[in-house]
Structures are given as structure tokens and as C-alpha cells.
């Protein structure tokens, strides 16, 4: 009997999944390391979004974006500067750590001249014509530990860097539907704990999009991505996010994250 148990344990240890588990760090632990990376308390930056459709037609949006942590709470605001027909549009989010508390979001549309309360539950919707969703934008370089369960499935290279490949699957069908994702594979650079590449599948298991973080370098001591490329496999549409004037040191006034500033503009 003892021999049988020993053989069963030996065989189970030889199963590929367990070999992988023994070789690579736990997916949840990797997520914690990513989320523990210093992002600075506050940051301001210029963000240019270049959107290209499958016919090659390009649209460009220039914005100014700010983010600030208030303990576990995060506030972000983005102001559109160009082009003319979206200029002065603003989007403000108060993101609460408590998973049971919904985020508060407001949108300022210059054509209405009103700050409008918007639902934060449409997190799977695409953000103002780009290929990232509201949830992607909110997370920035973080990953959600509430929405996904993770396991490390191997190693690979992304943008020339050696990475752990972490597979993330939504914790429930309901969450998958909300997010619009059935599975995500993330290439995590374990030297700097940065997600260099992510591949997304839709809820039917079809390839959806690939997100690549490029030009990652330290700004004022903080690892910062300066370019994100998103290729949508389904639509052929792509978005390039270009960050410049990144500043963690100057601080961002609290009043930037208010409805008053959203309405008045920068």
C-alpha cells in the first residue's frame, strides 16, 4: 500500500502542471509583486492616442492626464486638448479599494456644458474609441487580483526581455462578461515586475487583442512605460498610446480631481 501511494505521488509530481508550479512562482504572488511596484503618489503626463482602423485611416487625440493616490483610493482625470471636436472633453474617476464600493465617474461634454454622472459598471466598454477598455485604463500598469485567478504557465520573451508567462482567467462567467475577456496571458518581466505584453481572448475563446508596453525606462526613479501598442485581432483596429512629459515629482493639486476642474478645464 505504501508503495502504491509513493508511486501515485511520484506520478502526480511528474505531471506537467505540477512541474511548472514547482519551477515558476505562483501567479497570485506575481500579481502582488506587480501591484507592489512603485507608481509614485501622483503623476502628470501628456498622452497622445493614435487610432488606426483596418483601412489605415488614422485619428489622433492629444490629452493631459493626471493620477493621484489617496491611501488606497486612486483618482484619475484626463482632459482632451485636440482635436477641435473633442477638445475640453474630460473624464474623472474616483477608484475605491473596497471591491464592494463602486467607482464614481463623471464625464464633461463641452457640447452639453455639463458634468454628467456616468455608470462605472460598463468597465468592458472601450474607452472613447480606443482599443483599451475603461477597466484597462483604470488599472494602468496594475493587475486586478479580485477579477482573475492566475497561474504561471511558462517563460517567454517580450520586447527582447525574459518574462514569466502568467495566465489569468476571470473568477466567474459574470465577471468575464463584464470585462469582455475569457482569458488573458501576461508576459511579466520579473526583474522590474512590469507586464510587457498581454494577449486577450474574448468570452468565446477567440483571440481578441494584444497589448504591448514599450520604451519602459525609469523616470525620477520609477519604471514608466512610454508607449502602449494595442492590436485588435477582431476589428483590425489599433491604438498607440504615447506618453511624454511624465512627472512624478511636481505633485498634482487635489483640485484637479474635482467636478469643478473637470468643467472649467485646465
Amino acid at each position: 500500500m505504501k508503495k502504491q501511494v509513493f508511486l501515485m505521488v511520484l506520478v502526480s509530481l511528474m505531471m506537467p502542471e505540477n512541474l511548472i508550479a514547482a519551477k515558476f512562482p505562483n501567479g497570485g504572488w506575481v500579481a502582488e509583486k506587480i501591484n507592489a511596484r512603485d507608481e509614485g503618489v501622483a503623476v502628470s503626463r501628456t498622452l497622445v492616442m493614435e487610432m488606426t482602423d483596418r483601412h489605415g485611416k488614422k485619428r489622433t487625440r492629444k490629452t493631459k492626464a493626471f493620477r493621484k493616490y489617496y491611501g488606497p483610493e486612486k483618482r484619475t482625470v484626463i482632459f482632451y486638448l485636440e482635436p477641435r471636436n473633442v477638445k475640453d472633453t474630460g473624464f474623472l474617476t474616483w477608484d475605491y479599494r473596497d471591491a464592494g464600493k463602486e467607482d464614481d465617474q463623471w464625464l464633461y461634454l463641452p457640447a452639453l456644458r455639463k458634468v454628467r454622472r456616468v455608470s462605472a459598471s460598463d468597465r468592458g466598454d472601450y474607452f472613447l474609441g480606443t482599443d483599451l477598455t475603461y477597466e484597462d485604463i483604470k488599472l494602468e500598469t496594475r493587475v486586478s487580483t479580485e477579477d482573475y485567478k492566475r497561474r504561471t504557465v511558462g517563460e517567454g520573451r517580450a520586447d527582447g526581455h525574459r518574462c514569466l508567462i502568467v495566465e489569468a482567467t476571470p473568477v466567474s462567467d459574470e465577471v468575464a462578461k463584464e470585462l469582455g475577456y475569457g482569458k488573458v496571458e501576461q508576459w511579466v518581466d520579473s526583474e522590474i515586475w512590469f507586464v510587457r505584453k498581454s494577449k486577450f481572448w474574448d468570452t468565446n475563446g477567440n483571440p481578441l487583442k494584444t497589448v504591448s508596453a514599450r520604451d519602459i525606462r525609469k523616470v525620477q526613479g520609477i519604471w514608466t512605460q512610454h508607449e502602449i501598442d494595442v492590436e485588435n485581432d477582431k476589428t483590425g483596429h489599433s491604438t498607440k498610446f504615447l506618453f511624454s512629459d511624465v512627472d512624478y515629482k511636481s505633485g498634482v493639486p487635489d483640485k484637479f480631481f474635482t467636478q469643478n476642474t473637470l468643467r472649467r478645464g485646465l
Binding site: 485619428r59 477641435r84 457640447a111 456644458r113 454622472r117 456616468v118 472601450y126 483640485k255 467636478q259 469643478n260
Partner: protein, 437 residues
Amino acid sequence: MKRKIALIVLFLSVIQGAQAADSEVGSLLTARYGYGFDPQRVQSLELTWAPEIRWDWESGGRLTGTARLRSEFETGMQPSAIETGGYSSFSRAATAGESIELALRELYFEKQSGDWYMVLGKQQVVWGKADGLKVLDVVDPQSFREFILEDFDESRIPLWTVNLEREIQDWTLQLLWSPDQTYNALPKSDAEYVFTSPRLVPQAASGVEVQLQKPVRPNNILVDSDAGLRLSGFFDGWDLSLNYLYQYDNQPVLHQNVGFVPTPVAVITPRYHRTHVVGGTFSSAFGDWVARGELGYFTDHYFIETDSGVAGGVAKSEELTYVLGIDWSGLTDTFVSAQFFQSWLPGYSTGIARPELDTNLTFLIRRDINNDTLSMGLLWIANTNDGDGLVRPKVSYDLQDDLRVWSEVDVFYGDRKGVFGQFNKKSRVLFGAELGF
């Protein structure tokens, strides 16, 4: 003219000494073609140029100026078809011939100074949470050149206003003072969207000549000015505001007197009356839903009186108006909104040419697809008392970054006595293009 120049000099003196650090110039060029269904004819052919300039000062202030040059080739929509009696001399647009109008839309200086934020000059002040119809968004008057079809941003008439805001803990206090005695701009009798509903204008009996007098306007820049305040804040997920406005109601009251000299004559004199407006707004989000609403109580409103024994042909009543709205965004890239408006007259008398309780409903569905380049929407506004309404399907497409084309159909239906039904021969299709540069 002297007053205009004095005002501009005063305005410039406010920003004297400041040094411009940065400036920005932009424009919107819009072309529009409208075709009426019944009878079939060109209803509107219009070209609009709207330049905007901003100067930012090193000291932190900003000066913003916008203008609108509009040329309309169809007679019923031209500037000459709109009454100008509602405008003060400070805010009246200049015209050239029948078809061209040049308006200074906005010219204001804004600056943060300590806890105070000030906006001085000709500006739009927008209150309220409602879409499509108004409850508290009455600080500024409105042009009814196209009834309510024109975007409010375009139809709202900016006033010369002192607008001060101060943040006090979690609240923002807004103080308003406007000496600009400009009121709603109404269509003349030959205008495309002239009011004919008995709810809005007195109906002359057959054989009675109608004489429309010049409006009797408030004329004291201090005593007749408007003032208001708003207290707004965000508390535990709720956006709240309390509003108060002491104003001359933007809509003139059409007093009528019938005489016999020697034939029957109805002399109609537009007059403006004071009212207090007290109200509040709220909005909050719950999952896929956003609930919003506003309420306004007007102490002195006047209504057309059908009882010929009532002096002046108008009756006075308080008015309580509210809207409850619900937005739903549970379907990807789709926005659905419904609103329930009611207006109640506590001082109602049976001769008033509108119901004691008037109810309007609105429904909007909009879907943005193709990475937000293509937008399709349908707005329906209905009055349940008269059974009339307005249906507006619209589609717009961003051809390029700064070039948008759109088409819309505006269909009025219902009895001609209704506020919407009065335009049941004015349904139209529109095609337009907007270029930003």
C-alpha cells in the same frame, strides 16, 4: 454703442497688467442643408463659422472669446425672421442684409484667486441635469429660432455675468449677478418655427385685427439685474445642488387688450415679469444605472387665459416643475435614457390654456460603434396631455479627426394646438458637415 465700448474697456481693464503667456486659436466651420417634407422644399441652407481664441496669462488668468458668423439663405430661418426686442444692446448680434448675422457669443476672463474662482464677462451658465427639455437651465435665455431643435449650446444666449465660485469644505458656492437684460429670442410671424399653439400665444377671434407692440422691457441696469446662487457638492455617492435665482423670466408675457377703434383690435404687448426660482438637483449611479433629477419652483409665472373676462388675457400662477431621469448603459457601447417631466400649476384656473398638470416623456437610445466613429441615436419627446411629440433619429460619422458628417430627421406629430403638434408641417431631414481647424 457708447455703452458697448465702455463695457469692453471695463472688461479689458480687469485684465490690464496681465501678460499673455500663451494663446490658442481655433475654428469650427459648419454647413447644413435642411429639406422640409410637407410641403417639399428647401427649408434651410446655412453656413456657420465659429472662431474661438484663448489667451492664458502667466499670472494664471485666461481670456476666452468666441464668435459666430452665420449665413442662412432660406427666408424663414434668416436673422430677419427673429424678434430682436428680447436682446439688450450689449448682446444683440450685428446683421448684414437679410441673411448674415455676426454674434459675439462669449468673451470672458476667468481666474482662480485663493479660494475664489471668478468668471467675468459674456458667458454661458448652465444649471440642471435634464436633457432635451429644461427645468433649472433658465439662467440664460434661449433662441427659439428652431424651436428646441438647435443644440442648447448654440441656442442658449450667453449673458454678461459676474460668476463667482468658492469652495467651502465639501460644498461649492456659486454666486451670479447679471445686469444683461436679454431674454428669449422668439420667431416672428413669418418665421419657419413661429409659435401658433394656443398654449403659447393668444388666439385672435376672426375679424379681429392683431397689433403687436414693442416689448416693455426692464431698463435699469442695477434694479432690473438678475442674481442667483447655487450650492453644490458630492456626498456619499450623490451629486447634489440647491439653486436659487431671482430673475426676470426669460419668456415675455403677452398681455392683450381688445379695443374697438372702430373695428375690433387686439393689442398685444410683451412684458417681462420678475420671478423667484428655487430648486435643486441630484444624480447618482447604481450599477448599470444612473438616476438623476431636478426640481424648480417658480413663484410668478403667467399663462395665456382663454376666459375673455380676465384682464390682460393672462393668468398668474406659481409653477412647480420636476424631472426624473434614468440612464442605462448595461449594453456595450449603448446608452439608453428615459425622463419623466411634470409641471404643476398650484394656482390653476379653468381658463388657463394648458392643463393644470402637464406631462412630457423623453426616451433616448444611442449606440456608438466602429471605435466611436459612427454614432446612431433616436430621441423621442412626447406630451401625454396633447398626444403630440417629436421623434429625432440621427446618425453621425467622423470622416477624419476634424471632419464630421451627420444626418438627422425631425418629425413632429400631433394636433396643431399642442406645443409639438404646432409644427406638424415642419418635419424635415437635415444633412450637415462640421470641420474643425
